[in-house]
C-alpha cells in the first residue's frame, strides 16, 4: 500500500501552511528588494529596472549622512563584538571549566539577564542611568550599552563549543608540564576557535542591527544606520530607503551564513 497514507509524519495541510509561512516571511523582503531597483520615483508604480537609488545612496544628497551612520554602526559593532567575545570567552571558561565557585549559579542568571529584560526596559534604564551619573549621551554610551546585550549572544556558540571539547586534552597538556595558562593558550583556545569566531559574528550582527536601545541612548549628535533609516522613514518611505534596506539585508544574511559555516567547520575538523 502507498506509504503516503501510512506515513505518520504527514499531516495534510501542514505543507501548504509551511509554504505560506515561508511566503509570509520572504514576501515583504523580496518586494522591497525588487522595488529598490525601480526606476520610478513613485514607490507605487513599477517602471523599469535601474540602479538609480543605489547610486543615490552612495553619491546622493543624503549620502554623507548615511555614510557617517554606517561608519558609526560598523565601528561600534566591531568594538562591542570584540569586547563581548572576550568577556564571553572568559565567562564560558569560568562556567564550564573552573569547577565550583561562589556565585556560579547567579552568574548563569546574569549572563542570560540581557535576554530576559524587554529591550525597551533596557533602553529606558540605560538612558536614565547615564543621565543620572552625568555621562553625556553619545558614541561611548552606545558602545557600552551594546556590549551588554552582545555578551549573551557571543556566549551561546562559545559555550556550546566548549561543552563539546573533552577535558582530556587539557589534562594531557598538564600531564606534559604545561602551566594552566599554556594549556588555555595552546590547547583550549585553538580548539575553540570556530565557536569564538561564530560568537563574534553573531554579536557583530546583533550590534549592527540594534535600533531601540541605540535610539534611546545615542543622544542628539550620533546616528547609527538603523536610527538614520528610522529617522528617514518617519518622513515617508522613499526609494533610497529601500536601497539601503536591501544592502543591509544582504549584509546580515552574509554574516549569519558565515557564522553558521564557521561553526560547522570546527565540527568537521574534530
Amino acid at each position: 500500500m502507498a506509504s503516503k497514507n501510512l506515513d505518520l509524519r504527514r499531516f495534510p495541510g501542514f505543507l501548504p501552511l509551511t509554504y505560506l509561512c515561508l511566503f509570509l516571511l520572504y514576501a515583504p523582503l523580496i518586494i522591497v528588494m525588487i522595488y529598490s531597483f525601480n526606476d520610478s520615483a513613485s514607490i507605487t508604480r513599477w517602471d523599469s529596472m535601474s540602479l538609480r537609488w543605489y547610486q543615490e545612496v552612495f553619491f546622493g544628497v543624503e549620502a554623507p549622512k548615511f555614510r557617517t551612520a554606517t561608519f558609526n554602526s560598523v565601528t561600534i559593532a566591531l568594538i562591542a563584538a570584540t569586547s563581548a567575545t572576550i568577556i564571553a570567552t572568559m565567562a564560558a571558561t569560568a562556567m564550564l571549566r573552573s569547577g565550583k565557585f561562589r556565585g556560579k549559579s547567579a552568574s548563569f542568571a546574569l549572563i542570560n539577564l540581557p535576554l530576559m529584560v524587554p529591550e525597551i526596559v533596557t533602553a529606558v534604564a540605560t538612558l536614565i542611568f547615564f543621565s543620572a551619573i552625568g555621562f553625556k549621551a553619545g558614541y561611548l554610551t552606545i558602545v557600552l550599552a551594546h556590549i551588554v546585550f552582545c555578551i549573551p549572544f557571543a556566549y551561546l556558540p562559545i559555550a556550546a563549543r566548549m561543552q563539546g571539547i573533552e577535558d582530556t586534552f587539557e589534562q594531557a597538556a598538564q600531564d606534559l608540564y604545561a602551566t594552566r595558562f599554556q594549556t588555555f593558550r595552546l590547547i583550549l583556545l585553538p580548539l575553540m576557535t570556530p565557536g569564538i569566531l561564530s560568537g563574534f559574528l553573531l554579536a557583530f550582527i546583533i550590534s549592527l542591527d540594534d535600533f531601540i536601545i541605540t535610539n534611546f541612548v545615542k543622544g542628539a549628535g550620533v546616528e547609527t544606520l538603523p536610527t538614520a533609516i528610522y529617522g528617514a522613514v518617519r518622513q515617508g518611505i522613499k526609494p533610497n530607503i529601500m536601497a539601503i534596506s536591501t544592502l543591509l539585508l544582504l549584509v546580515s544574511v552574509v554574516f549569519v551564513t558565515l557564522s553558521y559555516f564557521v561553526g560547522r567547520m570546527g565540527e568537521k575538523n574534530k
Binding site: E166, T168, F169, Q171, A172, A173, Q174, D175, L176, Y177, A178, T179, R180, Q182, L186, I187, P190, L191, N269, K270
Partner: protein, 358 residues
Amino acid sequence: MPENDNIAVDIQNVTKMYGAFTALKDVNLDIRDNEFFTLLGPSGCGKTTLLRSIAGFEDITKGAIVLYGQNIANLLPNQRPVNTVFQQYALFPHMNVTQNVMFGLLRLGQDKATAKARVGEVLELVQLTAFADRMPSQLSGGQQQRVALARALAPSPKVLLLDEPLSALDLKLRQAVRLELQQIQQQTGITFVFVTHDQEEALTMSDRIAVIEGGQVQQVGSAREIYEAPKNKFVADFIGETNLLDVNVTDLAGGKGSCILPSGAQITCPAADGAHAGPGHLSVRPERIAITTAGGGLVQGNASRHIYLGTDVHVEVTLTDGEKVTVRMQNSTQIQIPEVGQAVGLEFEADAARLLVD
C-alpha cells in the same frame, strides 16, 4: 625485571573520598624501579582512581605518594615527573604527530632542535617515523595509541602511567601491542604502572600485579603467586576460574590446615595467610581435578552439564551435598568424557587445593 630494590612509587596509606563514598581505602603499595607493575581489578574497583592520583588528576584525602623519595601528593600534575598514556589517547587534534610528541619537551624548556631530535628517537622506538607529519585524524587506532605512548615517553619520565591503553584495540592488535609494550619497558628501563581489567593482559605482561577491589589492595605478587596462592576468595575467584567449596577449617599450623570434604573425607592442604579456624572455603582450580570411577576419589557426585569450549570441555559435577564443581577435561580422543547423569568420583592433590577465608 627489576634489578634493584629501589622503590619508584611508594603509596602510603592513601585514602580517597568523594563525599560519603570511599574510592580508595588506606592503600599501601610499593612499586619498584624498572618494574612493569599492573593494577588489576573489575570496573569501579578504584584502580583508575589510584592511577590518576599518582598522575595528579585526583586529590587524595589522606596519605602520601612518594616518588623516588619525594612526596608528590600536593603537587599539580604539571609539576610531577610522571607522564600518562590516556585511555582515549587524547592526542591534540590540531597538532600533527611531531608537534604532539614535542609538546612536553617544549614546556620543559628544551629548544626546538633538541626536542626534534628526541622526537625522532622516540618515534623510532614506536616505529612511527614515517608518520611524523600526519594529523591524528589520519591515523588508525593502533597508530594513535603509539603516538600517545611516544608523547608520554619523550620527556623521559621517572614513571609511565598507562590507563587501559589497549582497551580500544581489537584482539589481534592487542596481543601484538602487549609484546611491544613489554619490550619498550625493558629497553627504556622506565617503571610502568599499567591499569587493566583484563586478567590475561595482567598475567602475561607484568612483573608484579596488584589485585584491587572495593578500593582496597587484595593481593600483590607475581602472576604465578596470585594464581597459585590466592590470599582470599575474591582473588581466587577473579583470577582464572576456581571451585569454592564451603568447609570448616580446623587445625591450622605451619601454613596448612585441615577440613572435612562433603564426602566425609578429611584432607590437609595449604592455607592462605589470613586463614583462621571456622567457616571458610576450599579452592581448587578446574584443571587440577581428575575424574575417576564412581564412588572413588575424594568426593563423589553426578555429571550434570557439559560446556563445550573447543579445546576443552568443562564438566559440571553436582556433589552429594548439592554443591557444583567444574572440572576441566581436554577434548581429545583418548579421554573419556562422562555422560550427563553419570556418577563420578573426583580426585585432586591436597597440595593443589587451598584453604581461604573471605
